[in-house]
């Protein structure tokens, strides 16, 4: 899996996103360049209004940039038409949200199997893959439970299973630990981390430093601009810098 380390799973090139027009214009992103590679977990940190959620929705093809290039596994999303982009979104990208976003009328395994079925995978195979994904996050035993009968931590595990089912190689997580206590939140980060260690590329948006610290790199976003990055320099150098300020 480390063979394809050269190609980025996600690449943003000089991405701008402007909401509204004229007086009411808000620049959510101002020329963001950013990449996440297979096997890498990248955290994006910033206060509310810094553009971090916009960055994630654009990375996942849920929103379009005003200008700039967005590539997922080498494919330029901006060059795809609506249905091609929807397909790309379903097959290559997994999302984990703060609110879990599980469908209450479906069991855990049905929730996880759903995106595969939407892809046209046969029901029995989709279910098999879903079980495998649930196994990976340690809750195969709860496969037939409904979300309402699960704890927050268990629901988030289901959401992670859904995000990675069918070998999707890019996982986007928006404050995935937001609603969880610190111990459970850590479990979720451990799972995300494990998924990336196994070869996926992960982007984690958070305002909590303790959670961002699970990433290989931390990108700081302020007012739509990447202001800084930590974790890419040799540890000794940065520690020296830390002591001298």
């Amino acid at each position: 899996m480390s063979a394809d380390l050269g190609t980025a799973a996600l690449r943003l090139l000089d991405v701008h996103r402007v909401h509204g027009e004229g007086e009411a214009q808000v620049h959510a992103l101002r020329g963001v360049t950013f990449a996440a590679h297979p096997g890498e977990l990248v955290a994006v940190m910033g206060p509310s209004g810094s553009g971090k959620s916009t960055l994630l929705t654009i990375a996942g093809g849920l929103d379009e940039p005003s200008s700039g290039v967005v590539e997922v596994e080498g494919v330029d999303l901006t060059a795809l038409d609506r249905s091609e982009r929807a397909r790309m979104r379903r097959t290559s990208v997994g999302y984990v949200f703060q609110g879990f976003n599980l469908i209450p009328a479906l069991t855990a395994v049905e929730n996880v199997a759903l995106p595969r079925e939407l892809d046209g995978v046969r029901a029995s195979r989709a279910r098999r893959e879903a079980m495998q994904a649930l196994e990976e996050v340690g809750i195969a035993a709860l496969a037939d439970r409904f979300p309402d009968d699960m704890s927050g931590g268990q629901q988030q595990r289901v959401a992670i299973a859904r995000a990675v089912v069918g070998e999707r190689r890019l996982v986007l997580a928006d404050e995935p630990t937001g609603a969880l206590d610190s111990e459970t939140g850590e479990e979720i980060l451990r799972l995300l981390r494990a998924r990336c260690d196994a070869g996926a590329a992960g982007v984690l948006v958070t305002h909590e430093a303790r959670h961002a610290a699970w990433a290989d790199r931390v990108v700081f976003l302020r007012d739509g601009v990447v202001v800084d990055e930590s974790g890419s320099a040799p540890v000794e150098d940065l520690l020296g810098a830390g002591r001298l300020g």
């Binding site: 206060p47 909590e208 430093a209 990433a215 974790g231 940065l238 520690l239 830390g242 300020g245």
Partner: protein
């Protein structure tokens, strides 16, 4: 164990005396053993040199808190607690650590001076520090991951895990405080700009740092 740990910025004044006494509460030990036990429980976060252990033991003996307990099979001279030694340990564990005198915090002092001394780029200072503190936090978290991967539920590993958590929470608090400082400074900058331009034009001015005014406008529109 013995992992390379970035040293906390301010070396905490770990009470070597009380640490050694409480280890001896468990069983009689010899000097080198005391050092090893201390480091295995704190993950080598606060390295203790063996000379320090022996001088402390000598002082503790003088004060009547420990006494010689004879040699073990290998000829190591062991120490045990006296009655008042036991009492000292009990008192230590039942008395809260004094928090009245805030430890000298170089970063807080530096920032207090940076915002008052003219010509300092405080924004860059904060950004660099945040990046450095984040790197330290990433290192602690990496050690935590490694510690978590080991399945041995030994007591010493739990102790080391708690020490790591303490470093993690402290680094997190520092980063959160830096974010807070940044927000306050921006607000102050916007206010300053507002008072200087109010006389000349409407308060929609772009005099304020562009970044900060975006936040405010966005908030106002919702």
């Amino acid at each position: 164990m013995g992992a390379v740990l970035p040293a906390p910025r301010e070396e905490p004044t770990v009470s070597v005396k009380h640490a050694l006494l409480s280890l001896l509460e468990q069983e009689p030990m010899y000097g080198y053993q005391l050092r090893q036990e201390f480091e295995s429980r704190t993950g080598g976060t606060w390295p203790l040199n063996v000379g320090q252990v022996y001088t402390t033991l000598t002082r503790l003996e003088r004060d009547g808190l420990v006494e010689a307990a004879g040699e073990d099979e290998d000829g190591h001279e062991r120490w045990r607690l006296t009655e008042s030694g036991h009492e000292e340990v009990a008192t230590w564990f039942t008395t809260p650590v004094a928090r009245t005198q805030p430890p000298r915090d170089e970063l807080a002092i530096k920032l207090a001076l940076a915002v008052t001394v003219p010509g300092v780029d405080v924004g860059t200072l904060i950004q660099r520090q945040r990046s450095a503190s984040m790197t330290a936090l990433q290192d602690y978290t990496r050690l935590k991951r490694q510690a978590g991967a080991e399945t041995s539920p030994a007591r010493a590993d739990l102790a080391w895990g708690l020490v790591l958590d303490s470093l993690v929470f402290a680094a997190e608090a520092e980063i959160r405080w830096l974010d807070h400082c940044e927000t306050r400074l921006r607000r102050a900058a916007v206010q300053d700009a507002g008072t200087t331009t109010a006389a000349r034009s409407a308060p929609t001015s772009e005099m304020a740092p562009a970044s900060a005014s975006v936040d405010r406008r966005k908030g106002a529109r919702r």
